[in-house]
């Protein structure tokens, strides 16, 4: 909207409809006009002008953080994530027992169709091997966090590498790398993960982590490449180029950091899907075979499945834990996405 008789108004989307239009940074009141006013009036006018001036001039990142902090849903997600991480860190202090220890008082009551329930020593009862279920749940946060974070980080690192090479060089490198991601994207996520696990002669925790990581590589790569390409045409990159800044420094200092915000948001969301995918692999019998490992996906997918009819709590507790944590990462991620979305800048 060009308005020849006024300075261009930045905030106004449509004439008059947007109340934000009047909240722009003011030019200030010129002395000549005020000079004719009485002292008292002048002070009042200044105060009024100052009040509206305070609203302007917040940097983009700080602005995004401000919006994130104001979003109660994102804060809720962050709180869940924080709680989850704290439990993982302080698991040894919180858990009443060793998660791998089999207790005689539990094993002696263990049969195929009866698993001891809650008692004073074991608040959530026993798992199918006579171990303290509560302690396994608490320690489970550690392994779940580990699987989610490591898988996401590996996927992120590989994806960013591919995406950055593609976006920075373009041409045939871009072409080859993108065809490569095409092949990976030609298989639906879980099927790709299954195929990858099937490649290994036997599963381990690392086959699961790698499979989940690789599934996310093309997503990160495409995302980063896309936002880097968009950056390439942006004003500040063109300006840097016009100033004679070297190519590698444009890529490293200008394009990559800006494009990374979208990738970091995606990584937060991926933490949620990674945990869910790992649980799915466990359910299909392709998970970590280590029976001592306490990880929620494993507990839900293996014991929860097998003993669902005998003791459904074995499925319920890890499932609820997974749902809550997945929800936490999703809410936080979406809050971040909303916060950096230029559409929401006001």
């Amino acid at each position: 909207m060009s308005d020849p008789i006024t300075r261009p108004t930045v905030g106004a989307q449509r004439d008059g409809v947007d109340p934000a239009a009047v909240e722009e940074k003011p030019e200030g009141v010129t002395p000549s006009a005020i000079g004719r006013l009485g002292e008292r009036k002048r002070a009042r006018l200044d105060a009024l002008a100052q009040a509206s001036a305070d609203k302007g001039g917040v940097s983009l990142i700080r602005d995004a953080f401000r919006r994130l902090r104001r979003n109660p849903v994102a804060i809720f997600g962050a709180a869940i994530v924080a709680l989850f991480v704290l439990v993982a860190i302080f698991a040894p202090l919180l858990a009443p027992h060793d998660p791998a220890q089999r207790f005689d008082e539990l094993t002696k009551n263990l049969t195929v169709d009866s698993i001891p329930g809650a008692s004073s020593d074991f608040p959530l009862g026993s798992d199918p091997l006579g171990r303290d279920f509560l302690s396994r749940m608490i320690y489970g946060s550690r392994q779940t966090l580990f699987v989610g974070v490591v898988a996401t980080l590996i996927g992120l690192a590989l994806g960013v590498l591919i995406g950055a090479l593609s976006g920075a060089f373009g041409g045939w490198i871009d072409n080859i790398l993108m065809r490569f991601t095409d092949v990976m994207l030609a298989l639906p996520a879980l099927l790709l993960a299954i195929s990858l696990v099937a490649m290994a002669s036997r599963s381990s925790q690392w086959t699961v982590i790698l499979a989940v990581a690789i599934v996310n590589v093309p997503i990160f790569a495409r995302l980063l490449r896309g936002s880097m390409l968009a950056q390439r045409e942006s004003d500040h990159v063109l300006a840097a180029r016009a100033l004679g800044v070297k190519q590698h420094s444009i890529v490293l200092r200008h394009m990559l950091p800006n494009a990374m915000t979208a990738v970091i948001v995606q990584a937060t969301l991926t933490l949620s899907t990674a945990i869910l995918e790992a649980a799915s692999l466990s359910f299909l019998g392709l998970g970590d075979p280590d029976i001592n490992r306490a990880e929620w996906g494993l507990m839900l997918g293996v014991d929860g499945q097998r003993y669902f009819e005998v003791r459904p709590e074995l499925a319920y507790y890890p499932a609820i834990a997974i749902i809550v944590v997945a929800l936490g990462f999703t809410l936080l991620g979406e809050g971040m996405r909303e916060a950096i979305d230029p559409k929401n800048r006001r």
Binding site: D182, L187, L190, S272, G297, G301, I322, I323
Partner: protein
């Protein structure tokens, strides 16, 4: 337009060839190799040598790849290690079950998701909207195999509304014509078989529909909200048009464009989800076949065919969706 189709088709072919090459390399480099996989670890050197010759593994790699591709293109994927049956036959038996399940799930996801997303957008910030947001968030956060067990527990153990597993009741007489039980019942006029098959379909289909449903609700909602802000909707209101016209011609016709793309991508979620859902409900489809082919000693011939098939279905569906775009969106048509 034609050029776009040709280019996309070429891209598709390249992708599939690359994938088949990867699968070929994968099979060649299995731990212990395919021979080991076929014979087990205790095979005698003589039988091993015989098999290597029989499989053509003594020939140069490129020749082997050419032969591999030749067989793949003629639909010959060899025999299943587990059952000894031809792979095409094994897959052919399981294929209709999965397609039937996935199709009903997709109908549920689109049929519920689009109206729900629209209503949520129109009632933005109200109870219905908040409920749908909460529901979709839960839908993408819940492991669907757990949801499957939960539904199964409630609807087959507590209240006996639906059968717990399988595609058809044992007492029901159904004639196998196409392998699609619902369709077979209709074709042979055995309507009780159709009813029974549908009755068996409901729980698994709802389970499988969870994620696509959640995604479609969200995309529809977001897209309708975007369109509601468009000037042409205001123009339509300024014309005094009826609600029905504004909703159909001006809001939904625009808002559903991104939803169509999503439906294509959700085929992936359906194929992935089918593996999990089929295991929960003992549904004898491709998903069960994949699980069985991995856990009961790896059945590589079946696996490679399944992977290629899944990729083919996924890629082709997405191609069709992209092409259909050209017919729905006039702005794409001219280019």
């Amino acid at each position: 337009m034609l050029r776009v189709i040709v280019r996309r088709l070429l891209q598709l072919v390249v992708t599939l060839i690359a994938l088949s090459a990867l699968i070929f390399i994968w099979l060649r480099n299995l731990p212990g190799g395919p021979v080991e996989a076929l014979l087990g670890e205790r095979a005698t050197p003589a039988s091993r040598a015989l098999l290597i010759k029989a499989l053509g593994y003594d020939q140069p790699v490129l020749v082997q790849y050419a032969k591999f591709m030749q067989r793949v293109l003629t639909g010959d994927f060899g025999n299943s290690i587990r059952t000894g049956d031809p792979v095409t036959e094994v897959i052919g038996r399981a294929f209709p079950a999965t397609i039937e399940l996935a199709a009903v799930a997709m109908i549920i996801a689109v049929g519920l998701g689009v109206p729900l997303g629209y209503l949520a957008a129109r009632h933005r910030g109200r109870l219905l909207d908040n409920l749908s947001i909460a529901g979709t968030l839960l839908g993408i956060s819940i492991p669907i195999f757990f949801l499957g067990y939960l539904l199964k527990d409630v609807f087959t153990q507590n209240i006996h509304w639906f059968p717990p597993s399988g595609r058809i009741s044992t007492g029901v007489d159904n004639t196998d014509v196409t392998g699609f039980f619902v369709l077979d019942g209709l074709l042979t006029r055995e309507f009780d078989a159709t009813g029974d098959a549908l009755w068996h379909l409901i729980l698994p289909a709802f389970t499988l529909a969870t994620i696509p449903l959640a995604v479609i609700v969200r995309i529809t909602r977001a897209s309708v909200l975007d369109v509601l802000n468009e000037d042409y909707v205001r123009t339509a209101e300024a014309k005094g048009l009826r609600h029905k016209t504004i909703r159909g011609r001006h809001i939904l016709r625009n808002a559903l464009l991104p939803v169509v793309t999503t439906i294509g991508l959700q085929t992936g979620a359906l194929l992935s989800g089918a593996v999990l859902t089929e295991k929960v409900y003992n549904w004898g489809g491709l998903g069960t076949l994949i699980t069985d082919s991995i856990s009961g000693g790896r059945d590589y011939p079946v696996l490679q065919a399944l992977i290629l098939l899944a990729a083919l279905v996924f890629v082709v569906v997405n191609l069709l969706v992209d092409l259909s775009y050209a017919f729905i969106d006039p702005r794409v048509r001219v280019r």
